[in-house]
Amino acid sequence: MSERQVLENIERYHSGQMTAAERKEFEAMRKADAGFDAKVVEHQLFAGLLKQYSERVELENRLNTIHQEIDVHDLKESLMAHPLWIVRIWRNHHSKISVAASVTILAVLSVLWGAGKFDNHDNIQALKSKVAQLDKSNATLSKSINDIKSQQEKTDERYSGTGTGFALTSDGIIATNYHVIENADSVYVQNAEGKSFKANVLYTEPQHDLAILKIADESFSSLGAIPYSIKRSESALGEQLFTYGYPGRTPTFRKGYLEAKTGYRRDSLHYQIDINILPGNSGSPLLDGKGNLVGITDAKEAQTEGAHYAIKSKYLLDAIDNIPEESLTQKITLSKKNLLAGLNDVDKVEKVKKFTFMVMTLDN
């Protein structure tokens, strides 16, 4: 009997497909030959392990699905042990304390100056000439900046449409609206510094007006940690929100709140928000105060006067899950960290800026 047939017999034995006579013979063989018996046991253990392994994978998937529905960030805030009162006072009032300290230092300095402690003409002369020098180099600099700007404006003319997109991963996977890239022959994205990169369309969901792009440009380097995480659960009415994007090709920050959980004609794909969304804003990230990404602003639906909409982030998460594996070089790992919580608006913009892109298309 070949090894293959031996294995087949063992499997038939374990799955109970043997006739009574075969079974008897098989068991007799096991008794007579210890080596054979070991083979039977080993195979059963191995096949069992394979099965248990698959059950474990399935259980882990089930647990992960449940886990996704928990708003971990909110929970974490409420469960952190509270720091010492002195740390709390510093956290809450450090700006006021700093101001008080600077005022004191300024007062001391002016008293000293008034008392003639700094009466040193030579130093002041030197300082004056230094300032004049700086002035001059500043003028040259702004001239060259203007030159660069005018060059850039010229290149911008080539593009036939613009929108906004934002990074999902540090290696340049970007989300935007489908209608932004709908008729595009080629797609470019431009970062906050004005540098543009060629991008490919990785995946689209026209029914949800979503598109996923991937920067495919050798000059592109990693963005660093994404400062927001995508929220699966729905946000509450009245939640404070802000967005950052490129309406009219100008970086723009706007804030407001969530008005309704449904969009135009009560569709459940959109939120209605009290933030002016202009053409070019399409595909901008919509974030809440804690740095959760809750939606993608969508200027296409803004036909009704005074009503503005954003696609719920849940649909984005689903779209990411639906990207066919073949089109990805590596699995998408989304950020779970919110680095925006507790920052003021200026600092939030500063953080988000780097991860938001102007999406420019060349139509065919």
Partner: protein, 190 residues
């Protein structure tokens, strides 16, 4: 989070019966009910939310397997059991990464854990890791043939048709070769 789920902590026997009956709702209720407790334990003892997720899921899996194997006796509250297992697992992890300062801040009462359970779990985990990488190294079409036959219990006839083998004998030979390779890959690993 769903408010109803959050507010309804399941009873211990509800959870155990639920696991035995493969109830998705019971598993979800269990998971949602005790996760905050473990998050609190971990983030206040030098961990972050990802650590909490790992540790908590490991404990749920230990419980799940123990219940399924029929040797879970409810000698304490389920809550205390889960907390104790997580606490033990986290202490172990802290020791491994040298972050343990000899002191852990506790939020619940806890009991000593049967080390047996955790060891059994750790052993099995090692085996699963090996199986995972063996399957990955195995490649296609072997991987799918193995999964179809040994996991999804598909017949050789079905596999033969799915992969377009000209006759069942060819498919059987292929399956045999794949299994031999998988075993080799599995046992080669240390």
């Amino acid at each position: 989070m769903n408010k109803e789920l959050k507010d309804s902590t399941p009873t211990d026997s509800e959870v155990i019966l639920g696991i035995l009956n493969n109830s998705e709702t019971a598993l979800k209720k269990l998971y949602v009910a005790y996760f905050p407790m473990i998050l609190q334990l971990i983030i206040n003892n030098s961990g972050d939310e990802d650590d909490a997720k790992d540790i908590y899921q490991e404990a749920i899996i230990v419980l799940y397997n123990k219940v399924k194997a029929g040797d879970f006796e409810l000698s304490s509250k389920l809550k205390t059991y889960i907390y104790s297992v997580c606490r033990r697992l986290w202490l172990k992890r802290l020791n491994q990464i040298n972050r343990y300062g000899g002191d852990i801040k506790d939020f619940q009462e806890f009991l000593p854990v049967e080390e047996d359970d955790l060891e059994k779990h750790a052993d099995r985990d090692v085996q699963f890791k090996k199986m995972e990488s063996a399957l990955q190294l195995l490649g296609e079409p072997c991987k799918t043939i193995m999964e179809d036959f040994y996991i999804h219990n598909r017949s050789m006839q079905e596999i033969c048709e799915r992969f377009g083998y000209t006759n069942a004998d060819n498919a059987k030979t292929q399956k045999y070769k794949c299994l031999q390779r998988l075993k080799k890959l599995f046992f080669q690993q240390i």
